[in-house]
Amino acid sequence: MTKSQKKLNAQILGEGEKTMLFVHGYGCDQNMWRFITPAFETSYKIVLIDLVGSGQSDLNAYDFDKYNTLQAHADDLLDLIEELGLKNVVLVGHSVSAMIGALASIQNPAAFDCIIMIGPSPRYISDHSYNGGFSKESIDELVDALDSNYLGWSSAITPVIMGNPERPELAQELKNSFCRNNPAIAKHFARVTFLGDNRADLEKVTVPALILQCSSDVIAPLYVGSYVQQHIKGSQLTQLKAKGHCPHVSEPKETIQSMKKFLSAR
């Protein structure tokens, strides 16, 4: 197991010449991709990771100064790609990791076949000429919400997985791991994610890009999706019927379909 593999709790499954590297968004971990990866396992090598500070990654590696920018996470991805010798990588990034993936592709375009950005936003805070959807104060509110819920997070809210015949894939192991993040890191990562501004990076992206846009997504509204599409040359935007911010969790079928359509056309 390589250094980065350990650091990012990287799991490798499936077979194929091309690799799909899945990167979860803010607040969760690699378990998010459970409904998506089975559809690609036969034709791709699948690499799943937890961003440093999330899930089962090496929390000790989360240096608050270093991870003050998304670039540090992008560098982690590139280290992993190099250590594992991955080529023609299809990077699938959700939310903030759509931007992290874009930053990685700018740094080393040769490593990537394309990037699939689910609910991307280069800038969450609005200003006079840009409608990101949030004000600075709303990010403080989010931190308050984290503050008032992390107590329960650590002990009381042991999520009991109910008898769920439709979803047998929800294994018992999820019980203690899913979306449980260290409160101090979660608050820091929230600020890095939601207060960052990567608008200027969009036009530096040269690899083919697919943007998956949900309907009524409060975190990455339609305006932001089209902004991303307009600023990444040659990118393609697909509007999903799925509502909310996590179509790969709420509407996995539709999400898989859109991804496959894009990939097969390449």
Binding site: G25, Y26, G27, C28, N31, M32, R34, S95, F134, S135, S138, I139, D140, E141, L142, V143, D144, A145, L146, D147, S148, N149, G152, A156, I157, P159, V160, I161, M162, N164, E166, R167, L170, L174, F178, C179, F194, S216, D217, V218, I219, A242, K243, G244, H245, C246, V249, S250
Partner: protein, 393 residues
């Protein structure tokens, strides 16, 4: 009284919400309407669960709540702020389950909403108390750190005091022993002179007077050393840093001690390169070298040798060494040689008296001059003292 489910539902002591999978509300109970101030028509199929949340709460909902609900089918005990129709807020606790009604798998989500205004206030108080105690803890650890560093300062002061005390002990010991003995012999000779004056011839008086004069010399030397040492101890010694030719120091010393060595039957050999220069206080360095040569002669038997040499070292320093074929110094004694704890002087091979201050003073002077002093010795074979100085080049 017959209770029907509809009444139980509508008047339950918590808000009930039913939503489609995408969050669109399809049924709510009366309790929830009372919580929020909306009418049923305003909510049903017009609002989603997230619409009641603050903007920060919405992000939390999308990034944590919804994914967990989708992945696990259940979320419980999540605290949000709900916004009423009149835009006031109240804290709630939410439990939610995702379930399917029929085989076609039309999933719906069921929420219960508890108003926890009072409990939240209590929680806030607890949180504030926690924050306050964390702050106090930080302060405490700061005070603790300060205390620890104070203890360190006190410990250092104690060590200094101990050293000063040892200096004082040494002083008394010198005054009591070393200074008293030449004075005693002075007294003895002068008494003899007075008592036996009539019976002494001229030569006898001359011999006595010479002995008297020698005793006075050594007492003066002792007093000079004591004064110099006391000044160094009090940090009042003059320090004049200049570039000095090594030979200027050594040739002078060699001249003076050639006679002394000759008298004792010792071969004193001085060989110093003409060009060597060092940096330091001339008087102090002279004191050190003189003292070393004096000691070497003092602790060497008849027919032995003493040599004074100097050379430049590869590291740029200049080394002046004094070697002898004398009695040597035991390892045990070596350790105490330069320190104040050495309580008394040692007599030379011909009974020469010392002050017990020479090496200690030499050590202090070497420190002041930024130099080093070291020795190699083996019992019965001899001793070499090495001194190293900054080069004048």
């Amino acid at each position: 009284m017959e209770l029907d489910f509809k009444t139980l539902y509508n008047h339950a002591p918590c808000g009930y919400l039913f939503a489609m999978e995408d969050g669109t509300l399809i049924n709510v109970n009366d309790t929830f309407l009372a919580f929020t101030g909306y009418s049923r028509e305003e909510i049903i199929e017009n609002k989603r669960f997230e619409d009641f949340l603050s903007i920060g709460g919405k992000i939390y909902y999308e990034t944590h709540f919804a994914p967990i609900l989708n992945m696990q089918g259940e979320v419980s005990q999540i605290n949000f702020d709900f916004i009423r129709k009149d835009e006031t807020r109240f804290p709630v606790l939410i439990n939610a389950i995702k379930q399917s009604v029929n085989e076609k798998q039309h999933n719906y989500i069921q929420f219960i909403v508890l108003d926890i205004t009072q409990r939240k206030q209590y929680e806030m108080e607890l949180m504030n108390a926690k924050k306050k105690s964390e702050k106090l803890l930080t302060q405490l650890s700061k005070v603790n750190k300060e205390l620890t560093s104070n203890i360190q300062v006190i410990e250092e002061q104690r060590e200094q005091l101990e050293k000063i005390n040892a200096t004082k002990d040494k002083f008394f010991s010198i005054v009591a022993h070393d200074l008293r003995s030449p004075l005693s012999s002075l007294k003895m000779f002068s008494s003899l002179l007075i008592d036996d004056f009539d019976s002494l011839n001229k030569e006898g008086i001359l011999t006595m007077s010479k002995q008297l004069s020698d005793s006075v010399d050594s007492t003066i030397k002792m007093a000079d050393n004591l004064i110099t040492w006391a000044m160094v101890q009090m940090g009042e010694s003059q320090f004049n840093e200049v570039t000095i030719k090594v030979q200027d120091i050594t040739s002078n010393i060699c001249d003076v001690y050639q006679d002394v060595a000759l008298k004792k039957g010792i071969n004193l050999n001085c060989s110093v390169e003409d060009s060597l220069t060092i940096i330091g206080d001339k008087n102090q360095i002279e004191f050190v070298i003189r003292n070393l040569v004096n000691n070497a002669i003092k602790f060497t038997h008849k027919n032995g040798f003493v040599s004074l040499t100097a050379k430049s070292l590869p590291d740029g320093l200049v080394q002046i060494s004094v070697s002898d074929s004398g009695v040597g110094i035991s390892d045990e004694y070596k350790r105490e040689l330069f320190s104040i704890s050495k309580k008394q002087s040692t007599n030379g091979t011909a009974g020469e008296k010392g002050t017990g201050l020479g090496l200690m003073l030499s050590y202090e002077f070497m420190k002041l001059n930024g130099g080093q002093i070291d020795l190699e010795s083996s019992l019965g074979k001899g001793t070499t003292f090495y001194t190293k100085f900054k080069s004048g080049h």
